[in-house]
Symmetry: C2
Subunit: 381 residues, 2 copies
């Protein structure tokens, strides 16, 4: 087993020219981040001049980035770098909730929110979404979920809102949900893994007490890396210091991203700030793309008009094709790949999600043309 290892040495990615995977669209590195990877690639390189804590390192200027720039960018008091959004959610739950407490979350929550709660020993009540095709999340749903937890004599110590969710790309009224949670003295954690780095997000304006984002998902960073922000009130508990190890933050195990991913987050950051300013154009592009897909016989689910680049489509026509096509349900993956497009999971036809983020109109026209050709080419003679 340990004798034939060369195969691990020179692995190449096999992806198409245009990648419409929502998970990957906003994680593509800037040229600056690629350069940072090489410059800081060696293990523990960021620790060259560390005096004991990652977020306080001055060379490179991590302290300024973490304590100056990120709190302003996120609109919150304190920020730390994490391994990703899920690790940030767990840290917050682990610090703020007691085992057996309830956490309330939207019915569209990412699976990692559920896992974080399970790992922290928490019970879950869901604020259920409305029915198809909207799958909308409302403040009323949170109120009902909190009330249900109370009926079980539960202690609700946290509410989580996925903003937007990773299935439909819906952006619920976070402010209203925060107000509802606050009426019950429950803090709100905003999961902005698909928002922060793509669109303007300000935790303060949205009423979020805690906020998490993902570097590799939406901030043009090489993962795993993320951000975790909190108001002063909650930062105290989440970033509490060790009782025995001076200056070390317990919930972060001292330091989190002690390597190159953090430097890629920093290197891409100016470009990320700039692209966030162009968010209205991204929304407009997504809406146009959605309308064109519907002309081809597919149906966009979730909010309409849509407010995010992540979109979910029902495609009964593609499903019908899959019933008789060569390779069956894998035909769509193959036919798109032949046309230089990837990012829809192999095997999916009847429903799938995609993202238009950061793609030029011409590229999206190529995607639309591909769908059109594929549908046409499989039309019964």
């Amino acid at each position: 087993m340990l004798d034939n290892l060369e195969k691990f040495c020179n692995l190449k990615r096999d992806i198409a020219e245009i990648n419409i995977d929502p998970l990957q669209r906003a994680g593509i590195l800037t040229p600056e981040a690629r350069a940072a990877l090489l410059e800081w690639g060696d293990g523990y390189s960021v620790c060259d001049f560390c005096a004991g804590r990652l977020d306080l390192i001055k060379t490179p200027p991590i302290e300024e980035f973490v304590h100056g720039v990120l709190p302003e960018f996120l609109g919150t008091d304190e920020v730390r770098v994490t391994h990703g959004a899920r690790e940030g959610k767990f840290a917050a739950m682990h610090a703020l909730c007691e085992k057996g407490d309830f956490v309330v979350m939207d019915g569209n929550a990412h699976y990692t929110t559920v896992l974080a709660a399970e790992r922290a020993g928490l019970k879950i009540e869901y604020a259920s979404s409305s029915k198809e095709p909207d799958y909308a999340i409302s403040a009323e749903g949170y109120i009902q979920a909190i009330e249900r937890a109370y009926e079980q004599k539960g202690n609700v110590s946290l509410a989580v809102l996925t903003y937007p969710d990773g299935n439909y790309g819906n952006l619920p009224d976070a402010r209203a949900i925060a107000d509802a949670a606050h009426d019950y003295s429950v803090p709100l954690l905003l999961n902005g893994a698909y928002a922060i780095g793509r669109m303007p997000v300000n935790a303060r304006d949205l009423g979020a007490d805690i906020i998490v984002g993902s570097g590799h998902k939406s901030m043009a960073a090489s993962g795993p890396v993320g951000v975790l922000g909190a108001t002063e009130e909650y930062a105290k508990a989440i970033f509490r210091l060790s009782s025995t190890k001076k200056n070390k933050e317990v919930e972060l195990l001292g330091c989190t991203v002690r390597g190159a991913p953090l430097l890629t987050l920093m290197a891409s950051f100016p470009a990320v700030v700039e692209r966030v300013r162009h968010w209205p154009e991204e929304v407009e592009k997504a809406r146009w793309f959605s309308a064109e897909m519907e002309k081809l016989g597919m149906s966009q689910q979730g909010e309409r008009p849509h407010n995010h680049d992540l979109m979910f489509f029902l495609a009964e026509n593609l499903y019908q094709i899959s019933l008789t096509a060569k390779k069956g349900r894998y035909f769509l993956y193959r036919d798109l790949k032949e046309r230089g497009i990837c990012g829809i999971k192999p095997g999916l036809t009847r429903q799938f999600k995609l993202s238009t983020y950061g793609l030029a109109r011409e590229e999206l026209e190529k995607v639309l043309q591909a769908f059109g050709e594929i549908i046409e080419s499989h039309r019964p003679a």
Copy 2:
């Protein structure tokens, strides 16, 4: 604050030609790992063909690496990839111990072991080390620590051994300590952050039930990335599946290193396996270096003859110089840097650690010559 961000774009490392930092010596990337960084740098790139779980991805061949190669390399039943040794320790403690339990660890334990225990709500009893200059850890110390916990009516659910420790580079008799712990039905976690990837380590042979290693510290990987292995008995709990999210491992929050660091670990792995075979030469080199340093008036602490490249020195002569030198205690850092050497923390003179790992004799001779020159140049006229 968000207007002057260009400074984060093009940050350069400022390090000397020869880096003797124990934290960094074995984390320097191979050329293959550097290529992997660029190939797989984009966020979530390893997830191109994921069916839901990181460790089961076939393209790239992560499944074969994690389920085939790593268990053999570590001599254990089940392995997963983590964000690093500390995250592996916390996962094991969180999965195997109840809040309020005792964990027993060596007095030389890394601060992150203490933080992991604190985060998991555990009490600590230390197996104290012998006095200077050895700082040796013994099975007897573990027995006493367990007995002390019992006297407090505590439940001891885990023992941790640092192998070697990060201060003195001591390699205790792990087998004897494992046997002692097992006599009390306490599993042993071996923290091999400074061993795995440098020297031969086989969990089974050493009697370790759980083992953690660090990719960025000792496996020529770009961090953060690490390995967590366990025998079948303990793997069941540590890698338990979610009760609601199919196939997702709770303690890992589904997936851990969903990015390039894992591919660097894989790309460097053949070279790592090869260098482990040359460990006896590394030990010999360390012993020779230690003897030469002592000829210059410094005194190596910890095991003698030494069995690891990480060494701790007392340098009363350098301390005396610092009392009158220009720049005071920073003179050593400056004088070494001028001679192309870095890796001893700025400000340290009286005691410091360093590593000879992977350095050629000629490079180490340059280091010795530098120490000699520095001592000579500060000799009172």
